[in-house]
Symmetry: C2
Subunit: 332 residues, 2 copies
Amino acid sequence: MTEDIQRRPPTSVDVARAAGVSQATVSYVLNDNPNARVSEKTRERVREAAERLGYVPHASARALRTGHSGLVLLPLPMARTGRLAQEWLDALGDALNDAGYTLVYYGERKLKGIAAARDWAALRPVSIIVDSERLTKASVELLKSSGTRAVFGIGSEPSPLVPSMVLDHRQVGELAARHLVERGCRRLGAIVPREAGIDVMGANRWRGVCRVAPDAARLDLAFSEDEARELVAGGDLPDGVFAYNDEYAMLLISALHDAGLRVPDDVAVVGADDLPIASLMRPRLTSVHFDPTANPVELVTLLDEIVRGEREAADGTVVDLFAPRLVVRDSA
Amino acid sequence: MTEDIQRRPPTSVDVARAAGVSQATVSYVLNDNPNARVSEKTRERVREAAERLGYVPHASARALRTGHSGLVLLPLPMARTGRLAQEWLDALGDALNDAGYTLVYYGERKLKGIAAARDWAALRPVSIIVDSERLTKASVELLKSSGTRAVFGIGSEPSPLVPSMVLDHRQVGELAARHLVERGCRRLGAIVPREAGIDVMGANRWRGVCRVAPDAARLDLAFSEDEARELVAGGDLPDGVFAYNDEYAMLLISALHDAGLRVPDDVAVVGADDLPIASLMRPRLTSVHFDPTANPVELVTLLDEIVRGEREAADGTVVDLFAPRLVVRDSA
C-alpha cells in the first residue's frame, strides 16, 4: 500500500477543526451561500484551511443546496458523433457549466431499454440527453422515478416520450434532390451506406430524395472501392446522385473518374457535411452544409426550467439542432 | 411543479419495507454481495420490490464495497479527439465497465492547473486520464489528497509526474522522412499546421523529419486553399513533403495539381492517419497508419492495481498508445 492510498482524503470536518469553526460554517463559506452571515475574516480562515489541507467540496455538496446532482449525462459513444456535433456538444458543455451543471459523456453502448436506464440512473443524473431510439416508456419512467428530472431525446424525429432535439435527415436529401432536378437531372439516385449505425440515417436521407423524385433509385453501398467500381460498371446509373455524405461522394467520384465518366456532365454528385475536403476535390464538391440552430444557452435554460419544475417535462418541445443549406460548387 | 418532481425517488428503505426485510439485506441482494447468506426466495422478493418501486442502487453504493467511486474521469473536449482515438476510448470504456469502473468524458476545457484539478476532484473520480500538459505537481497532489488514486497523463512525451500514455509524434515524421529519402528525394519539408491545438503535434512531427534530414524545411500552413496556392507559387518547394496528415496532404496535392505540378514526380507527398480518403485520392496517398498497441484490458489492469494499492502510482510506467506504420501507395 502506498502512502497516497492509506491517507484518508480530508473532509469538511477536518477543515472545520483546523479553522476553529463549525462544519456548517465551512459549508456556507465553500459553497458561497449568500444567505449565511459569516465575516470576511472567518471566510478567509476557512478558505486558508481548506487550501492547506487540500480539501475540495464534493460535487454532491451542491446537491444539498439545489436538491439535485447537477450531472447531465450524455450516453453517447464518442466514435458515433461527427465533428460538427462534437463542437456543438463542447459548446453545450460550456453553457451547462456556466449554469452550474456538469455535462459528462458516458460511452456505454451495449445496453438498451430498461437495462440501459438502470445503468444510467445509477449515476443519479438530474438530466439525460440520449438517442431517442434507446428510450422506451418504461425506461423513461424508471429514470424519472430514480430522480432524473429532464430526459431529452436526440434523433431524426421528435420522440413521443420526451422533449426532442431533432435533425430531420429527410430535409437533407430533399434539398440535394431539388438542386439536382433544377439543374436538369432526369433520373435521381441516393447512396444509402451499408454500415450499421449510419444506415438508418442514410435511408432517411434517401426518403427525402424520394419526396422530390418518387422513383429515385436507392443505391446501397459499403465504403469500399470494389463496391463503388461495381456500382459504376453495372451501368444504368442515374444522372444525378445524392451521395449520402462527402466521403461517399469522394468514393463515387473516384470510381466514376476511373471508369472514364465525367462529373457533373455524365453524373452530377451532391455530398453532405461540407467537410474541408469538399472544396479540395476536383471537381469541387457541391454539398449540404449544416448550420447549428439550437442555441446551447437556450437549451440549458429549457433544461434548467424542467429541472426546477417550472416547466412540464413532457410538453412536446422540439428543438431543431441544425439547419441544412446547400453549398453549390462544381460537382452538381 | 409537476408530479414527477414532487415524487421522491424510492430508497433502499422503501424497498426493505415493501419486501419485509432489513435495509442491509436489500443492500446485500442488490449489490450481489457474495458473502451474505440470503435465501433465493428472499432475494427474489427484494428484486421484485425494487423492480416494482423503480429503485436503482446509486453508483456510490459500490463505493461502500470497494472504498471508491469507480468513476474514471477523462477531461477531454470531444472535438479535440480524432476518430481513431475515439474508437480506442470507446473500447477502453467497455473494458473499464467490465472491471466495474465507469468511464465518463468531461468536456470542461477552460481550466488549467490547480483550478482544473479542483473542478475534476469535485466529481470524486478514483482515476483520471488527462492531457499531461494540463497537470502540475500541485494539481496531482490535490487530486491525490482528495481521493483520486490513479492519475494518468496522455501526451507526446512521458510525464515526470504520473504514469503516461504516449504517442511520440517525432516517430511519425521520422518514418515518413525515411521513406522519402529512400525513394530518392533530396530536399525534404514538413507541413506544420498553424491551427492552435494541433500546431504542437505538427512541430513534433517536423522535428522527427529533421532527425532524418536535419535541414528539412518547416512549411507553416493554415488549412486554406489560398495559403496552399501561395506556398506552391512561391516555388523552391522541396521534392519530398510530409504533409502532417491526410487532409493537409489533400490540400497540398490539390494546389500542386492546380499549378500543373505532378505528384509524385515533381513533389512526393506523404500523409498521416490513413483516413478512408487516402486511397480515394489520385494519386493514391502514401500515409502513416496508426495501429493501436495499448490493450485497453491491460491498461485497466494497471489502473486497477494502482487503485487497489498493489502498485506504485508513480512508477514511471509508459504505455505506448499507437505504433505508426507506413502504408505505401502512389503519392510517394
